[in-house]
């Protein structure tokens, strides 16, 4: 085989690979482009949502669970005033401030519940236990205490909670999404 023929052979091969590759890359690329769309989506700016009335929260230091109701969008479906999760609110004797804790376990995201004894929180999945103010009870599988949510009391006594989700399974409290 002579040199020009070899060169022609190489060029033909290279050209074949490039053409075939480009042709295949088009559907793969289009697919990936759409598939990666969720990465552009974010949970949006966290809003303060009214969850209860100050006077209706017993001031006995025992946390109580309140549903969080807000408008929600799930891809193409829009929900108006839909329960999206829950928070625990806790008020000390005579206090005009309220502590708000997310009911989502910071370990793996299950729904933390109050022990029937009312003395602590416990996650039904991996037994992470928390004190009534959300502190970690060692030793615990959970890497951090329950997530406190920003909470404010309006002038008419409405308790508003900044509804946010935090990444599970890490030591720091990082907002998710």
């Amino acid at each position: 085989m002579s040199h020009p023929e070899q060169r022609r052979g190489f060029l033909a091969k290279a050209f074949a690979v490039v053409c075939g590759g480009l042709a295949t890359m088009v559907p793969v690329g289009a697919g990936l482009w759409a598939f990666l769309d969720p990465l552009r989506r974010s949970a949006g700016v966290a809003k303060f949502l009214p969850v209860a009335e100050l006077a209706a929260i017993p001031d006995d230091g025992v946390p109580r669970q309140y549903p969080v109701i807000t408008d929600r969008v799930d891809a193409w479906t829009g929900f108006a005033a839909e329960p999206v999760g829950a928070v625990y609110l806790r008020r000390e004797k005579g206090a005009t401030e309220v502590q708000a804790l997310s009911a989502t376990c910071p370990h793996a995201g299950c729904f933390v519940e109050m022990e029937p004894t009312g003395r602590c929180f416990r996650c039904p999945c991996h037994n992470s236990t928390f004190t009534l103010d959300g502190g970690i009870v060692a030793p615990s599988p959970s890497p951090r205490a329950m997530d406190a949510l920003d909470c404010r009391v309006g002038k008419n006594g409405e308790v508003e909670v900044k509804w946010q989700k935090f990444r599970a399974g890490i030591a720091g409290k990082e907002v998710q999404g």
Binding site: F35, L36, P38, L39, R41, A43, P50, V51, A52, E53, A55, A56, P58, R64, Q65, P67, V68, R72, D74, A75, W76, T77, P83, V84, G85, A86, A103, H107, A108, G109, C110, F111, E113, P116, T117, R119, R122, P124, C125, H126, N127, A138, P139, S140, P141, P143, R144, G154, K155, N156, G157, E158, K165, R167, A168, G169, I170, A171, Q176, G177
Partner: protein
């Protein structure tokens, strides 16, 4: 020459039409050689039962492809249709329960067969040269199968699949660097919803099985290239794959299918033996209540073959974030790493023994963790609870306080240690009981959702969750527990624990409120000041108690028939069933209730002219409108006015704030208290 032609023609004639067609096709496709190659593989040392595992796995996968495609033909992946379409398959389509049951249990059989196949390959050393690549392919196939199991669990979009997926995807989120993006890609956005389902479905039915089929083709062709790894020493003559080994394989496949069918049909057999009706929709795979992100699901557990991973996360208590990273990522990653290295380790002098020991140790560890997980959840079922009665009593007395315990046991450290051990046991029992209760609740919720879905009106376009959220029977107990049970009891007075529950309450027992039986108790001098009525309230010494205890006991004024008549009239007012023997008394009762010499002297009733303010208006007492009114605002002059004891106005909001309960919630409570909810015909 002509002789040859004659012979060919004669041969053609002998072959018949099928033979000629075969020749025609073979001439153009060469299919005979392919079939021959597929079937006439030499099996060194003859066919054996121990060679069937790989074939049963291929069979299990084919079963999943076939049943999966047919399920696909009826499944709809979206947050408002996934549960609904699976419900329809399971409970309404003829044979749907069987199709779904086979798919569900064959998936579990596949995991077991995988473990057996892997174990056999390692024990036989079949990963050694030249089969290393095929061993690696096998491991990849295993991961693909586990991936399909994981993604399939979510597809019915029921509570258990939803919460298990939250845990699984949160674990994906802790992978270093790419974790959060990976998590967001898999769940299709920042929140779980439609795109979580569409993605999981695409993975489950497209990407993963597609990859699996490609890998499986390579796996099988490499298996053929290298030949069967025969059991040594070979003592028997070789045999052919067809029919000797195929027969054994086919028998094993049938046995696997028989086990799967047995698991599906066993409850039907049991029901038939017990003489009960068999409901096909209840056979096979379970369907939980529809996924609800706002409803706690304390019975959240992965499928049994992932329980060891679930339990493994508990091992790292107190390790903080490192523990979860270790338990979910590092250790499983290392184990898979060692398995991938097995063909290389096997070259080392003790390598094979190490590989076998490692595999057995992993399987033993998996078994142990699974057993621990099950023991933790079901502990209360097999522990001797009587032996803990003493510990429970002391716990209640001391409130679990170590100092008080020391004092109670006279500072005897041996006794204190023993008691602390008992307390630990007690805690495990309580956790197990909580799980069992949550499982029971989950079953009840699922049964109710299925009952509602079967209404003649069918499921609304907004989906099943909407229907469950509007169902008084599902929502009533939760709303009551959250908003009312702090004061009110709701317990059947005939129940075993009724007395204790009622004694602890500080307001009336609302079980059967509005019924004749409830009214009879109110008008009973022995009960009216008891804890089930006004006993623990500010009205304990009020006018009503006084009236029942003094006026009603005066038979000259109130005959037994008069009281019966009032009971009948009030039950009728509440829209409740009036006992048969009292039906004739309703009109007389209404006259007594309205009369300004009788009940009407304090209570407004219809148009009796008694002014509001001294006692609640009992027009429509116990009916929906009346209940909604009193729950919304008991301080309204129509009800207790200024005499209201402690009951909050659940429907009243101060300006700018939300009322504690929405109008819809109050309606749900009222309907639930009245027992007014959908019941299927025949119940």
């Amino acid at each position: 020459m002509s002789h040859d032609v004659d012979r060919t023609a004669a041969a053609q004639a002998r072959k018949g039409i099928m033979g000629q067609l075969g020749d025609f096709l073979d001439d153009r496709t060469g299919y005979r050689a392919l079939v021959h190659e597929a079937l006439y593989e030499r099996v060194p040392g003859g066919a054996r039962w121990r060679y069937v595992w790989g074939s049963t796995l291929v069979f299990a996968f084919m079963t999943q492809v076939i049943t999966g495609l047919f399920l696909w033909a009826s499944y709809s992946a979206s947050a408002q249709t996934a549960w609904e379409s699976v419900y329809y398959i399971q409970h309404e389509m003829a044979g749907g329960w069987l199709l779904r049951g086979i798919h569900h249990f064959m998936a579990q059989a596949m995991v077991v067969l995988l473990a057996l196949h892997l174990l056999q390959v390692v024990i036989d050393g079949a990963y050694r040269a030249p089969r290393e690549v095929n061993f690696w392919l096998g491991l990849v196939l295993m991961l693909l199968v586990l991936g399909m199991a994981l993604t399939g669990y979510l597809l019915p979009w029921d509570q258990k699949g939803y919460w298990a997926t939250i845990v699984a995807t949160n674990l994906a989120g802790i992978v270093p660097f790419v974790g959060p993006s990976l998590q967001q890609l898999v769940i299709g956005g920042p929140e779980y919803g439609h795109h979580t389902l569409t993605r999981f479905f695409a993975l489950h039915a497209g990407f993963l099985p597609g990859a699996l089929i490609v890998m499986l083709v390579v796996h099988l062709s490499l298996f053929r290239k290298h030949g069967l790894h025969a059991k040594q020493p070979i003592t028997r003559p070789d045999a052919m794959f067809w029919p000797d080994q195929v027969l054994k394989d086919a028998v094993a496949m049938l046995a696997v299918m028989a086990v799967v069918l047995g698991v599906i049909l066993m409850p039907a057999l049991r029901a038939m033996l017990a003489g009960d009706a068999v409901v096909p929709g209840e056979l096979g795979a379970e369907l939980g209540a529809p996924a609800d992100p706002s409803l706690p699901y304390a019975a959240a557990r992965p499928e049994w073959y992932f329980l060891f991973l679930f339990q493994f996360l508990k091992v790292f208590e107190g390790w903080g974030a490192t523990g979860e990273f270790f338990g979910a990522i590092v250790v499983p990653g290392l184990i898979m790493g060692v398995m991938f290295l097995m063909p290389i380790l096997g070259n080392w002098k003790l390598g094979h023994r190490f590989n076998v020991a490692f595999t057995l140790a992993i399987l033993a560890g998996v078994g142990l963790l699974t057993a621990l997980a099950l023991n933790e959840d079901y502990y209360a079922l097999w522990v001797d609870k009587a032996s803990l009665a003493e510990a429970e009593k002391i716990y209640d007395q001391t409130g679990g306080d170590p100092e008080k315990l020391a004092a109670a046991l006279g500072n005897d450290s041996a006794k204190i240690n023993a008691m602390e051990q008992q307390w630990k046991k007690l805690e495990r029992v309580r956790h197990s009981q909580a799980f069992l209760e949550a499982s029971r609740q989950a079953k009840a919720d699922a049964a109710r959702a299925i009952e509602l879905a079967g209404r003649p009106e069918k499921i609304p376009p907004a989906g099943m969750l909407e229907l469950v959220r509007q169902d008084p029977k599902s929502q009533g107990p939760r709303l009551f527990a959250q908003h009312c049970a702090g004061c009110h009891a709701h317990v059947d007075p005939l129940a075993a624990n009724a007395e204790a529950v009622i004694a602890k309450s500080s307001a009336a027992n609302l079980h059967g409120f509005g019924s004749a039986q409830w009214m009879r108790g109110l008008l009973d001098p022995a009960q009216v000041a008891g804890p089930a009525y006004f006993g623990n309230t500010a009205h304990k010494e009020g006018d009503m108690v006084n009236f029942v205890q003094n006026d009603l006991t005066d038979e000259a004024e109130w005959s037994k028939a008069d009281i019966d008549a009032v009971v009948a009239a009030m039950a009728a007012e509440a829209g409740r069933a009036v006992p048969k023997e009292l039906v004739g008394l309703v009109d007389k009762g209404r006259e007594l209730v309205a009369s300004t010499d009788r009940c009407g002297s304090c209570h407004t009733f219809r148009d009796n002219g008694t002014e509001l303010g001294s006692a609640p208006d009992i027009t429509g007492w116990g009916g929906r409108e009346w209940l909604v009114g009193i729950i919304a605002d008991p301080t309204h002059e129509r009800f207790y006015g200024d005499n209201n004891d402690r009951m909050p106005s659940f429907g009243k909001a101060t300006e700018g704030a939300l009322p504690p309960l929405s109008g819809e919630q109050i309606g749900l409570l009222a309907d639930w208290l009245r027992g007014d909810w959908y019941r299927p015909a025949g119940h």
